[in-house]
Amino acid sequence: MNALKQTANRLFSISQNNYLNPHTALVWPETLERSQWFMAPELISLNGSPVYEELSEKQKKELSFWEAVNFFSLNIHGEKALVEGLAQRLYRRELADVAEYLHSFLDEENKHMVYFGGFCQRYAGKIYRDRKLKIEREYAYGEEEFLFFAKTMIFEELADYYNLRMGNNSEIELTARRINLIHHLEEARHLAFGREIVRYLFNKFAAHWTGEVLQNVRHYLLSYLEATWKEYYNPDVYRDAGLDEVFDLVDQAWHSSASKKHRQQASFRCVDFFVKEGILEKNLVV
């Protein structure tokens, strides 16, 4: 707990010194010129599939706008679940020592949704729907607690891979770029906290689990990683970008060797951490 508490105290201090007002941190243009890149071309889900090569630059840029809306929508849905889970954990006995930082964590996640939601509502007039469905089930001792933070880490690590490549990328439209940058700067703290708490909870609870529970946890995390990735391949995006046979495009994009390589690269940091901590047994390609 000491390492976790020290990390939380350090991050709380940084959060206090970098406090942002979400309503003034960004200047929102009335409209956005759509002939720009909103998502880096190499991060567009269709990149590497045959249909992408046939698109004109104008079509690729239009697609990049809807891909950005999807990326921001995924962040909203992920952060809604995160805020809900963090609020439930505030002042729980085992996390009381880090409660102060959990307040900052909650505050920053709420702000992120202001940025993401602001972009989607202003410029796309919508947020893409969430396809996740919660199914209640029973958990082993500490399993739900551990999985909450481990899933958060997966979702945030993948998002940060994208933020990092767009936050300082002059090719990206300015508002989208700024959102990626602000998100990355604050997520860096959440990721540092996430690693400490995932390590702490795994060491605390895994010793109490049977081999079957541990295998189920491992299987679930890999399935969650795959499910998280699948949401980056959204047929609604392709439809809004004016493309046809959208479900076939999902299949093409998901199975292309370029996208498999991309997912492997983007997942590496997170999966490598899980493997080094003994949480996952081996590095599996999604």
Binding site: R129, R131, K132, L133, I135, E226, A227, P235
Partner: protein, 90 residues
């Protein structure tokens, strides 16, 4: 043109393909795929996409009725029936 039977068969095949634990002959149209943990919360995302592909319409998770994904029959009734009827009537 897909009939009710065609669509239920496609759903059956998808569920069996995506779950190594169940054999085709063990899955009936009224088998509870959630309670029996044949499909978990993560696979539902894929199943939703498959249903959207079959029905040609979007599924709004926020507006789902409880039990909509309980079994093959309920999935058909909630998302595919109208399309199946229209196809049959054409």
């Amino acid at each position: 043109m897909k009939t009710q039977e065609d669509m239920k068969k496609e759903l059956h095949a998808w569920i069996v393909k995506n779950n190594a634990k169940i054999k085709a002959e063990e899955l009936c149209n009224d088998t509870d795929i959630i309670r029996e943990r044949i499909i978990n919360s993560l696979q539902i995302i894929d199943l939703l996409l498959f249903v959207e592909r079959l029905s040609g319409t979007s599924v709004e998770v926020e507006q789902l009725k409880p039990g909509a994904f309980k079994n093959i029959d309920t999935i058909y009734q909630n998302f595919l029936e109208r399309q199946g009827d229209e196809q049959c009537n054409k």
